[in-house]
């Protein structure tokens, strides 16, 4: 029920702008949404102002298609400037209505009444809104001419008002779109095609070749696999299940054609088709250029950049009774509704979009795409579905901020005036069509140019001969508006170029600008910014410096012009930037920024200042570090390591000068302060070094190259990897097919007598003590690790074990009479364990470590047998197969055994104590440590003597030496060994990972005395140290210093991808990285395999609790993992030979990943 409604006629019928309910609660409705900039607070302030209410008493509903007006997309900082206008009028009109009601009630003219804090006071008394509206039901059409307050009357607007959303956001009670949960909701996970980030070309919507649904049929939680052309997704009960299923699903895609060389922005943008649109052509540019005293031709380029929302896009959809509801983080609820109607072939009226806040997006991210995904899935399964994109998907698919190229010529006239300017800009971008429409073929994937390259293309200066053209181009990769749109790059060119001209003219750059400005407001902004920033007048670069460092100041100015050409001006801003350039490393630090801004009336000055700060930090990040990289077919950056953002330590000192103009209309402030950023920084670098940076980003490598006069290196130093992700997919598929043929058998032709089947032993035959002992032997041998397949039923075998002679599969250990050990008598079992002969007389391949098990004592062997026979039987066939010759030849294994095997139980060494002997028994017997930790000879036998326990490899992982000859910088003491075997980690060496992790988990069954005994024995194997080793503290400190001071691209990648755990700083983070990486033997090993495997697959949580390290295989390309490995080797093992062929090693490791 509402007591008072102000409405207007919108595009599709009446639209409510303001409501007051009988309790007096005021709700404002606005079609624009809060993109995280605090606009909700500012709009509430506007309503509160007109109604003389405390701002906290106004509620705002933003961007809900069923409830709010259609005011187009929230872009270009237009909310306050335009979208708020009808809202303000509605509030003013409501005020007039309330006053009229009060006047009637108190019998006095409205003019005699005062309204303050929601209470009307007149001659006869007071009344609040609820009292005035009692029993009323007023619906009034908007009077756009309703009298609004003059600035002099403002009490709320123009003052800072606390953000209404922060108490909820700071305590977890705010509902972002990510937090929408519906009853019965399922989770969808999309699988995107290999053409990541592309939106035109005939392959779009036609690349999905095959989906092997059977490959995931066994996985828990699966509800549906939904496929429509190139749209593919799985729906599952749980979010994690959906991801697991999606990752396991075998899919075949066609590979798209290659992209043009996007590392070469200038060449590629000039070559591609475009339509030239002349924006202005006055005077005679060519004539003026030919007579110019000084003539310059320059090109400036801007890279593709990510919007980089911190929260990947998410949506929830419900399809019920022919109606579709979507909970969305969209920027454009009404536009989205049109897209969804088209996708679903439904009328728009049957669709409601409920807009919730999401992570700040600063333009078009995947928020709309994911709504299409959720809608399709909700309809397919008939239950509400939530789709959360992964970080990788958001990075790959968000329509990027487009690259841009500005080709400029200009000249100075006789009197040193800026007399001629010829400016051409290329901006391959459009509005980012909804991805679901493209993938399902609902719209044609044809190249769609747009007209947004013209923002601030006209320079703000008085130039007599001026020609400005924009080349409208379709995107090459998905691209759409990003904060500052094309104005930011265009201004980078204008403001760098005018600085270049000033330097040519030998004139101060600020004075030179002022000489060409007519507008008094602009002139004042420029002057005040320079003054307050401590501008030092100059006639050329000042080249100040000290030691390695050069210091400079730079200035730039812009009015951000948005909307369709010629557009509308938002706030104008000027930057004075100070930089320090390290001439040796090329690092640029922005040390101080002063931003002056003229935004007309400021609704909420604190809000304006926060926007300004946000623009400074974001644009310094964009200027100094950000550029999307591409491989041959798609976007290549999938995580924050590959695409780093500025961090707290990069912050300059920021000051702002907000020029007060309460009499002027409010201007948009969301983007303006970004626009002069890059040029101001480039101009400061010029002042410091005399070198012009004309290509973003200004990374250390590029600045170093510019200082050396060398050509600009590409944004990514390593060569782009070719077809990495999908090459891997293809490889996995191939392996899956080949696996069936290749799989080797454990058994070989019979050579010895079969031991007859026996009836399974009776339950209860063995004492509890025997079973407990057997359980310990079982744990010491970690039988479960090899005898359980990946994702399979425990102990039923089937795990593929790769050997130099083929792949063998482990057997079913459970006492199932047909497929397991149920029909095995004790003698058959003991023979297999000690001699490697199966019950039926076949030889077992020594991947089964009978050479070690032979040492198990008779008592332990019997207990082990008892324990195994007490397990629940499970029927499970193990795949048959063949070994490659000669191991499958009759007799070979017998000969092998004769050479390499003695089947005698362990005999204690009388010269050693009982603890040592116990340790030796466990290590060399049931523990069979040498199986992995000794190198093998050409015939697959463990090498002995000095090579015993000297390190081996297993499944691509390095099994480090256990005899004290390992490569790590710190020796393994008895205490270290104990910690590691007991807890899975040692403070001086690191944590167990890969195949060692389950071993540690199994050892948890063993008593402390056994773990100590193993540590004692292993420690005794180490030779006496040749030289005193560094202390752990010194080593850690040196390593930390080396990591912190490195500046190459790999260092940035490492910091961003690995730093939270491996460079924790003052924060004690509960992470798997409990030990400095410099201690890890993987960094010091001869081969990089161990390190590479750890990065690809991660490190599991240790059994005693603690975190795990995630595997980075899905996020980082081969080239990037290679970069990290190479960086760690260089930095943490500086004395050792660099690893070579790293990218290939990563590719190999990835292909063999299980």
């Amino acid at each position: 029920m509402t007591a008072l409604t102000i409405w207007r006629t919108g595009k599709a019928g009446p639209e409510t702008l303001l409501e007051i309910d009988p309790a007096g609660t005021v709700t404002g409705f606005n079609g624009h949404v809060d993109l995280g900039t605090g606009i909700r607070t500012a709009l509430g302030q506007i309503v509160a102002e007109e109604l003389d209410l405390p701002p906290a008493r106004v509620r705002m509903v933003l961007g809900d298609t069923a409830r709010t007006p259609d005011q187009g997309p929230t872009i270009a900082s237009e909310t306050i400037q335009f979208a708020a206008v009808p809202l303000r009028a509605a509030a003013a009109q409501a005020r007039a209505i309330l006053l009229a009601l009060a006047a009637a009630r108190f019998g006095c003219p409205p003019g005699a009444l005062t309204l303050r804090d929601g209470v009307v006071t007149g001659g006869a008394g007071t009344a609040d809104f609820a009292a005035l509206l009692a029993n009323q039901s007023i619906r009034a059409e908007l009077d756009p001419a309703a009298r609004v307050k003059t600035p002099a009357e403002y009490r709320t607007v123009g003052r800072s008002s606390p953000r209404v959303d922060l108490p909820g956001k700071a305590t977890g009670t705010w509902t972002y779109v990510h937090d929408v949960r519906l009853p019965g909701m399922l989770h969808g996970h999309v699988l995107r095609p290999p053409y990541a980030g592309r939106d035109s070309g005939p392959f779009i919507g036609h690349s999905l070749l095959a989906v092997d649904e059977a490959s995931v049929a066994h996985l828990p939680g699966l509800v549906a696999i939904v496929r429509i052309r190139d749209f593919l997704a799985v729906v599952a009960e749980r979010e994690g299940q959906a991801r697991t299923i999606a990752e396991a699903l075998k899919v075949r895609w066609a590979l798209p054609p290659e992209l043009p060389d996007l590392g070469n922005i200038a060449g590629t943008l000039r070559d591609l088709p475009a339509t030239k649109r002349m924006l202005t052509d006055r005077g005679d540019v060519e004539a003026a250029l030919s007579r110019a005293k000084v003539q310059l031709a320059r090109s400036y380029s801007w890279p593709w950049q990510m919007h980089g929302s911190i929260g990947p896009s998410c949506a929830v959809a419900r399809f019920e009774g022919g109606r579709l509801e979507i909970w969305s983080g969209t920027q454009n609820p009404h536009m989205l509704r049109g897209d969804i109607a088209r996708l679903m072939e439904m009328p728009e009226e049957a669709i409601d979009i409920h807009r919730h806040e999401a992570a700040g997006c600063y333009g078009r991210n995947c928020a709309d795409d994911v709504c299409g995904d959720a809608a399709l899935l909700a309809r397919a399964v008939g239950r509400p579905v939530r789709v959360q994109l992964t970080r990788e998907q958001e990075h790959l698919w968000e329509p990027k901020g487009a690259a841009q190229l500005m080709d400029v010529r200009g000249g100075l006239g006789e009197d040193g005036r800026f007399d001629a300017y010829d400016f051409e800009t290329r901006y391959p971008s459009n509005r980012g069509p909804n991805l679901a429409l493209l993938l399902t073929g609902a719209i044609a994937p044809s190249p769609q140019p747009s007209d947004m390259g013209d923002r601030t293309a006209i320079p703000p200066y008085r130039i007599e001969n001026l020609r400005v053209a924009v080349h409208d181009m379709a995107p090459i990769v998905r691209a759409s508006w990003f904060r500052g749109v094309s104005a930011l790059p265009n201004t980078f060119a204008h403001e760098s170029f005018i600085d270049e001209l000033a330097a040519e003219a030998g004139e101060d750059p600020v004075a030179f600008r002022l000489r060409h400005i007519d507008d008094a407001r602009t002139a004042e902004l420029i002057r005040r910014t320079a003054e307050e920033g401590g501008w030092q007048p100059r006639s050329g670069p000042r080249l100040h410096g000290e030691g390695d460092f050069a210091f400079g100041q730079g200035f730039a100015y812009a009015t951000y012009v948005h909307g369709t050409f010629p557009g509308v001006a938002a706030a104008q801003a000027a930057w004075m930037a100070e930089v320090a350039v390290n001439r040796r490393t090329g690092e640029v630090s922005l040390t101080k920024v002063l931003v002056g801004q003229d935004s007309g009336l400021m609704i909420n000055p604190d809000g304006v200042r926060h926007q300004l700060h946000g623009n400074v930090v974001q644009s310094l990040s964009r200027t100094l570090t950000e550029a999307v990289t591409f491989d041959a077919i798609s976007v290549a950056d999938q995580d924050w390591g590959a695409y780093p953002l500025a961090r707290f330590e990069d912050l300059p000192e920021v000051r702002s000068v907000l020029i007060e103009r309460p009499e002027e209309p409010p201007l948009g402030v969301g983007e303006s302060a970004s626009v002069p950023s890059a040029a101001a920084i480039a101009n400061a670098i010029f002042d410091a070094t005399g070198v012009r940076m004309r290509e973003l980003p200004f990374t250390p490598e590029r600045v170093r190259a510019a200082l050396a006069g060398a050509p600009m290196p590409r944004a990514l130093a390593a060569p782009p990897p070719r077809r990495r992700r999908f090459a891997r997919m293809a490889a996995t598929l191939a392996a899956g097919i080949a696996g069936g043929l290749m799989a080797g058998a454990v058994a070989f032709p019979a050579l010895r007598a079969e031991i007859p089947r026996s009836a399974p032993p009776a339950a209860g035959l063995w004492s509890a003590e025997t079973l407990a002992r057997g359980r310990q032997v079982f744990a010491a041998g970690d039988c479960a690790a090899c005898h359980t397949a990946e994702g399979g039923v425990p102990l039923t075998g089937g795990r593929a074990i790769e050997t130099p002679f083929g792949t063998v599969h482990s057997t079913n250990l459970t006492p199932d009479p047909e497929t397991g050990l149920g029909a095995w008598s004790y003698p058959a079992f003991a023979r297999a364990m000690r001699e490697g002969i199966s019950r039926d007389g076949h030889h077992l391949y020594p991947a089964f470590p009978y050479t070690a098990f032979a040492r198990i004592t008779e008592d332990d062997m019997q207990a082990l047998y008892a324990y195994i026979q007490s397990l629940p039987p499970v029927r499970a066939e193990v795949p048959p197969g063949r070994m490659i010759a000669p191991v499958n030849l009759r007799g070979t294994m017998a000969a092998w055994n004769a050479l390499f095997h003695t089947a005698t139980p362990f005999t204690p060494d009388p010269a050693q104590g009982a603890v040592w002997n116990r340790g030796a028994y466990l290590v060399e017997g049931a523990g069979h440590c040498a199986s992995c930790h000794s190198p093998r000879n050409a015939l697959g036998a463990e090498r002995t003597g000095a090579a015993h326990l000297a390190g081996g490899t297993v499944g691509g992982w390095t099994a480090p030496a256990l005899n004290g000859t390992g490569p790590g910088p710190l020796a393994w003491t008895e205490a270290d060994l104990y910690d590691y075997l007991r807890d899975g980690r040692s403070n001086r060496h690191g944590a167990a990972a890969g195949p060692m992790a389950p071993v540690i988990a199994a050892l948890a069954e063993l008593p402390d005395s056994d773990i100590r005994a193993m540590a004692t024995y292993l420690a005794s194997l180490a030779p006496a140290p040749a030289a005193p080793e560094p202390t752990a503290e010194t080593l850690a400190a040196t390593a930390q210093e080396a990591l912190e001071t490195a500046t190459d691209p790999a260092a940035r990648l490492f910091t961003a991808a690995c730093g939270s755990c491996h460079m924790p700083g003052p924060l004690r983070l509960a992470s798997a990285a409990t030990v400095p990486l410099a201690f890890s033997s993987t960094v010091h090993a001869e081969r990089p395999d161990g390190l590479i495997h750890a990065i690809l697959e991660g490190v599991p949580a240790t059994p005693g609790g603690g975190a795990s390290m995630p595997g980075f295989a899905p996020a980082l390309s081969d080239a990037r993992i290679a970069e990290i490995a190479g960086f760690l080797r260089r930095t943490l093992a500086p004395g050792k030979a660099e690893w070579t062929g790293l990218t290939e090693t990563v590719a190999r490791a990835r292909a063999t990943r299980h």
């Binding site: 959303d165 922060l166 700071a170 911190i310 970080r391 003052p1066 992470s1071 798997a1072």
Partner: protein
């Protein structure tokens, strides 16, 4: 296998595989909004929680790893009516634009102040260096963190 842990002071038991992500359990099984999914690789900090008072990234924590431990989320620190001093500092200094990173900032500062009660600005910046914010709210966040130091000191008195 049943895994028990305490979240915001309440005991819970889950019959889930130990490798289930802690973030998923907190958000989807317990319906908590504080910890956010941002990257899944420990790179951004959006998912931060406290485990036995220590900062942790829930996206790279497994349920098994927190068995028997105390997990505290943003919700467990305070409420809009009675915010924790660090939350209060962030509200008062407006240390957020969109606020998606806010959980991580508050949790990280809370954890830091437990070990280091009087950090200077540089230490705060270094402690927050692996918390990403796209909105560029860094200046307000640092100011909020500095205020949090003061408010916590007062609260301890």
């Amino acid at each position: 296998m049943t895994i028990r842990l305490a979240v915001n002071g309440q005991d819970h038991a889950f019959d889930l595989p130990p490798q289930t992500s802690l973030l998923e359990v907190l958000r989807n099984d317990l319906g908590l909004n504080g910890p956010k999914y941002g990257c899944g690789y420990g790179e951004c900090g959006a998912c931060s929680v406290l485990v036995d008072g220590q900062a942790a990234r829930a996206c790279v924590m497994t349920l098994g790893a927190v068995a028997g431990r105390q997990v505290t989320t943003l919700e467990g620190l305070g409420t809009p009516e009675a915010p924790h001093p660090v939350q209060r500092a962030f509200i008062e200094e407006e240390g957020a634009q969109c606020g998606y990173c806010l959980n991580g900032m508050i949790v990280t500062v809370t954890a830091l102040l437990r070990d280091t009660p009087a950090p200077d600005r540089a230490t705060l910046a270094r402690a927050l260096r692996h918390n990403l914010c796209r909105c560029g709210t860094h200046l307000e966040i640092l100011r909020a963190a500095e205020r949090a130091v003061t408010l916590m000191a007062e609260a301890r008195k």
